[in-house]
């Protein structure tokens, strides 16, 4: 029983992290039909900023906002420099461009900071746990879940209550019509990128606090997980991305916890078999978008 409860806590924490990653991808996809594979590099660059600031002994009150701002600025730069000019292009062009940006940033990091993993010296808080009746709840687990829930609430309010948020949802529904009605396309897209950059910055903080290590390729796995979570959750819907993230996290932990010894090494094979099964049953994802029709 304790094992099951503990596994549930572990699953919730991992699911929150995956949901956060998936949100960043879904935000951009909803509006631009672009899977930003360079989202992982937003996380990676923010992570290195964190590393260098910790090394310079700056106070956390400075480091946390700096990391978030890095994510936002880099994402907006990506939009302005790489994606704006190809905005109406074929989906494959958008995809290849995002791969190119991703690859470029990884290799710049490789050339400047080297491929040797960097270790971040973090305060003890990030390694501590609450222990209650045989259950171990890492303080970071609590942070993961709380941050994700708060973000969802705030993001939801932003998209429903603010002008730019409503415009973003309109653009996600029907980009052409929104423009006809006076929505400024550039502003909406830039805001979406800024938001996804903010999410990347937060995800970077959580990931680095968990692992205390950095490599130039640390974003690659994160973005693949985010992409898969978005697909199984239902592309184009933010709620879907969150659900997809939780499903993936829970499935991963459940299989890790309950697969027999000989098979647990193939855990990911089972996870992705599950993903394939989910997509066979519901090809458009678990939450189908209202506008899940091919855009002309």
């Amino acid at each position: 029983m304790t094992y099951a409860l503990q596994s549930a806590i572990d699953a919730l924490s991992l699911g929150s992290l995956y949901a956060l990653l998936a949100l960043g991808i879904a935000l951009i996809f909803g509006i631009m039909q672009l899977i930003n594979f360079a989202h992982g590099e937003l996380i990676m660059v923010s992570g290195y900023v964190l590393f260098f600031m910790v090394k310079a002994d700056l106070p956390w009150l400075v480091i946390v906002p700096a990391v978030l701002v890095t994510g936002v600025l880099l994402a907006m730069a990506m939009d302005r420099l790489a994606f704006r000019t190809i905005r109406g292009a074929d989906a494959s062009t958008l995809l290849v461009t995002s791969f190119a940006v991703s690859y470029l940033l990884q290799n710049v990091a490789l050339m400047t900071v080297s491929s040797r993993p960097k270790a971040v010296a973090l305060p003890a808080f990030f390694s501590q746990s609450f222990v209650a009746g045989g259950l171990r709840i890492a303080k970071l687990d609590v942070v993961n879940v709380v941050v994700t829930v708060v973000l969802l609430v705030v993001l939801g309010a932003f998209l429903r209550r603010t002008r730019i948020g409503v415009q973003m949802r309109a653009a996600a529904e029907d980009f052409q019509m929104a423009r006809v009605l006076g929505v400024r396309a550039n502003r909406v897209v830039a805001t979406a990128f800024a938001l996804s950059g903010l999410l990347a910055g937060i995800a970077s903080l959580l990931l680095v606090m968990q692992t205390a290590t950095l490599t130039p390729t640390m974003g690659v796995n994160a973005v693949i997980v985010a992409f898969i979570a978005t697909v199984i959750g239902g592309m184009g819907r933010l709620g879907g991305a969150v659900i997809g993230g939780f499903v993936l996290g829970v499935l991963t932990v459940a299989l890790q916890a309950y697969l027999p010894g000989g098979l647990v090494a193939y855990r990911d094979a089972f996870v992705f078999t599950g993903v394939i099964a989910a997509l066979v049953v519901r090809p458009d994802g678990l939450l189908v978008s209202r506008t899940a029709r091919k855009r002309i």
Partner: protein, 404 residues
């Protein structure tokens, strides 16, 4: 073209005869004095960029140090050693090109990357050209007759040696009987080390010696569940064997210690180096096998002297324990060339295969016609206490571990 006049033909023949005497070392049968002046070319087709250079540069630097020292003492067979390097860019295709490049410059031995995936393209090219390939720290026995071929060697120890060393050290030195395994299944090396541990530890502690085996991947951000399995395992494990490499192993040990688990941890030689220690502040009770101690506290004074000379020439940032294999390659090659009396690769390979416990900095080294990798050379057990590395002991295995 017909030569029309006899005088023109005669002139041509005279000129040809004169030029063959005048040009130094031109003809195959030229006197040995002119051949002896030409340097022995040591080729290195290793990664200088692309990611893997962090592993190859420490060994390449050690090679450069060894070559400089050999040359200062007069070289080999009256000839100086000359290093020619070509960048594999951490890519297989470029690896093959790099090998061909150094071979075309006269290399009869090619140093290759310290990993089979990165180093095999260059090694295969060398083998096909009848030239020796030598990996510094690549543990795979496929650098040898069972893989690349009879001209391929490695200065490393087979991966299972590390696992067997961990098993014997935990049982005999730390007196521990019940192990819990964290196995990183992302790559061959970690699975080989695990195989060595899983073969030796039950031989010492019985079938119940290994309480449970948990697996994880380099890319897992969290091993929370595996830690839960440790905490709920019965009978209670007394130590953890973790077979993983950086950065996964730093992440894992961080989370293990964060969960309040204080039992001893034994790992692979990738725990060598101080870069990752900030991730787990004030770490204690961790042990791992390495090739030497890079701290100057090794029990072999020659190793400590090497460390001093390396630091003097290259500084500390690229000083790694496994780097010493790059130094030992040159020592071994020089010895084999002297024994064979030639740089002919087949004869030098035969001389290398005659090595029985040859004292190198990494330890007594043996090659045979079946295995060009180490099974019985003692490794150096290092410990981490209060966040600092230190030498613990040299460990001689009771018997040879299996080759996977």
């Amino acid at each position: 073209m017909k030569i029309r006049s006899t005088p023109a033909l005669a002139t041509a023949l005279c000129l040809a005869a004169l030029s063959s005497i005048a040009l130094p070392g031109a003809a195959a049968g030229s006197p040995s004095t002119s051949r002896a002046k030409s340097p022995i070319v040591i080729g290195a087709a290793v990664a200088l960029s692309g990611g893997f250079e962090v592993a190859d540069i420490p060994t390449l630097n050690a090679t450069k140090l060894a070559i400089a020292e050999v040359n200062a003492k007069g070289g080999v067979l009256g000839r100086q050693l000359k290093l020619v390097v070509s960048d594999t860019q951490s890519q297989p295709a470029s690896g093959a090109k790099a090998a061909l490049s150094v071979i075309s410059k006269g290399a009869q031995i090619v140093l290759v990357s310290s990993d089979f995936d990165y180093g095999s393209p260059a090694a295969l090219q060398a083998e096909s050209k009848g030239v020796i390939s030598f990996s510094a720290a690549g543990t795979s026995p496929k650098f040898g007759p069972s893989g690349i071929g009879p001209l391929s060697f490695t200065m490393a120890s087979v991966g299972t040696v590390e696992g067997a060393t961990d098993a014997e050290f935990a049982y005999k030195h730390l007196h521990l009987r019940r192990a819990f395994e964290f196995i990183d299944t992302s790559m061959d090396f970690t699975q080989e080390v695990a195989f060595g541990f899983e073969n030796r530890f039950p031989q010492l502690a019985g079938k119940s010696g290994i309480v449970k085996r948990a697996t994880f991947l380099q890319t897992d951000p969290s091993i929370a569940n595996q830690i839960t399995q440790f905490k709920t395992a019965l009978p209670k494990p007394q130590f953890i064997f973790i077979s993983s490499i950086q950065p996964g192993v730093a992440k894992a040990i961080r989370q293990i210690r964060a969960a309040g688990i204080t039992v001893p941890i034994v790992g692979t030689d990738d725990l060598d180096g101080t870069d990752w220690l900030p991730a787990v502040p004030n770490l204690s009770n961790v042990y791992f096998p390495a090739y030497i101690s890079f701290l100057g506290d090794d029990s072999n004074p020659k190793v400590n002297a090497y460390v001093r000379r390396y630091k003097k020439k290259f500084g500390s940032s690229t000083l790694k324990a496994y780097g010493v294999t790059g130094y030992d390659i040159i020592t071994a090659y020089v010895r084999a060339v002297r024994k064979a009396g030639t740089t002919d690769p087949t004869k030098v390979a035969k001389a290398l295969e005659g090595f029985r416990n040859v004292p190198l900095l990494t330890g007594p080294t043996t090659f045979s016609s079946k295995l060009h990798d180490q099974l019985l050379r003692p490794m150096t057990v290092m410990g981490i206490t209060k966040g600092k590395d230190h030498f613990v002991t040299k460990w001689k295995l009771a018997k040879a571990p299996p080759v996977k």
